[in-house]
Symmetry: C2
Subunit: 305 residues, 2 copies
Amino acid sequence: MSQVYERVALIGLGLIASSMAHAMRRGGLAGEITGYARSAETRDVAREVGFCDRVCETAQEAVQGADLVVLCVPVGAMGAVAKEIAPALARGATVSDVGSVKRAVIEAVGPHLPEGVHFVPAHPMAGTEHSGPRSGFAELFDGKYTLIVPIEGSDRAAVKRLERLWTAMGATTDEMEADHHDLVCAVTSHAPHLIAYTMVGVADDLGRVTDSEVIKYSAAGFRDFTRIAASDPTMWRDVFLTNKDATLEILGRFTEELFALQRAIRTGDGDMLFEYFTRTRAIRRGIIEAGQDTDAPDFGRVKKG
Amino acid sequence: MSQVYERVALIGLGLIASSMAHAMRRGGLAGEITGYARSAETRDVAREVGFCDRVCETAQEAVQGADLVVLCVPVGAMGAVAKEIAPALARGATVSDVGSVKRAVIEAVGPHLPEGVHFVPAHPMAGTEHSGPRSGFAELFDGKYTLIVPIEGSDRAAVKRLERLWTAMGATTDEMEADHHDLVCAVTSHAPHLIAYTMVGVADDLGRVTDSEVIKYSAAGFRDFTRIAASDPTMWRDVFLTNKDATLEILGRFTEELFALQRAIRTGDGDMLFEYFTRTRAIRRGIIEAGQDTDAPDFGRVKKG
């Protein structure tokens, strides 16, 4: 592999930024990596783990002379960060982000960026339930998709260069329009997270079944929901507030469908249930065949002898 | 370990029965294991895999002389199987089952069992998304809970002996009353399965987002739902039809809570969302501390370098 950017500045130093730094180092993709986080504690941990060449005390200092700046903060903080760094951006630099919502980020960030700076929004479709600067690792993006969401008038050379970086970090890139991105993510990510949070909240809240019962007997299905319901609260609050329409649309469809299944249970319509449960198996097979999940039973949690 | 029963008959030879057979062999817990399945194909596969000492052509033949008979068929088939084997049961034998619902099984099986036979319902809270006689393995129950649900007048010695078997197969046993069992399982297993089936059905059904998009970008959360939505359709149809009231009650609570969160999204109540998402992290921690799930990111699907 070879260097794609001379200096990459990471603004925000959580799971995604630290994983990008590890992945860029693995491939020798950046001449220098600078970083900045608002919290002094995060900056200290980042220095200790050492995934950046320099951790700076201000965002402006971090972006100086960078030919790629990646905003890795919660979606709701993107606009303020863009405004802060704008005066320090080098002419010809590319500004990208890793936010889970694209239309709102484009609207919040775009207006702040000066003439001569290329804005290429992106979204790596990968993550874990862990967060913070210690949680990153080089392999996070391997075999996963990163969506590149060029805006009107995006410089093609800048787009292609960013795609080269993501590919070299292990990801496969696809280009997508912002509104379609937000709808696709509402289905594959945002609605599932809200539903998982809800199910875990209900279980926690139920007086007649104790938390200790919920925990002890969670292997019967429930525990699968608790992983994504342990994701970073700030990040997810911002996702729902900024991808409101698409998320509410999918949740509306979900509720409609749930009511149809509840009615089948209430009326004893076994054929409808059987047919529905048979159909959903095909999607699982598709995901395994596409290499997006393991076929090992229980996600490989159980070890066969 | 040492023998707990002289002859164990397994009626139905899917994931749970074959795992029990492997686990009993691992510990030398049964003198002989006989088996029966309604489908000739399943019987042939069971013979090929060889987890039973004898696979019989009728259920009656399999239970003859057994001191433990375990019904491992879908909940909706329990009553008919009990009626079929009743005349062939040995006096003093214990009849148990592994059904995910207990009140309905007690009502369907109990009336058929002759005087002098002990009925001790049970439910191992373990499983994978795979099914059939090839899917079993000895380690399935290790570290998981098996709920023992004695009925009124259950013989204490028979209960204790069955608990000894489950413990020796790797499980921890708890005793529980049937209705409470059904409510606990509605929370930890049945409602989560229906919700997962629904979310996968919605994604599959959405015209504006293609199946191929859903599959490619599933690592962002959705794929976690697809595992349990790939479970055996017959088994799950029967679960919902026979644990109707408790499942509908929990789904009602779930919908109420989901609506409250949707309202918070619509009105932009970030504090409510943040607080909710923070609370649900504690349950995940509890499950990991109780040894009921892995703390490895992404269920250990991703390998850190």
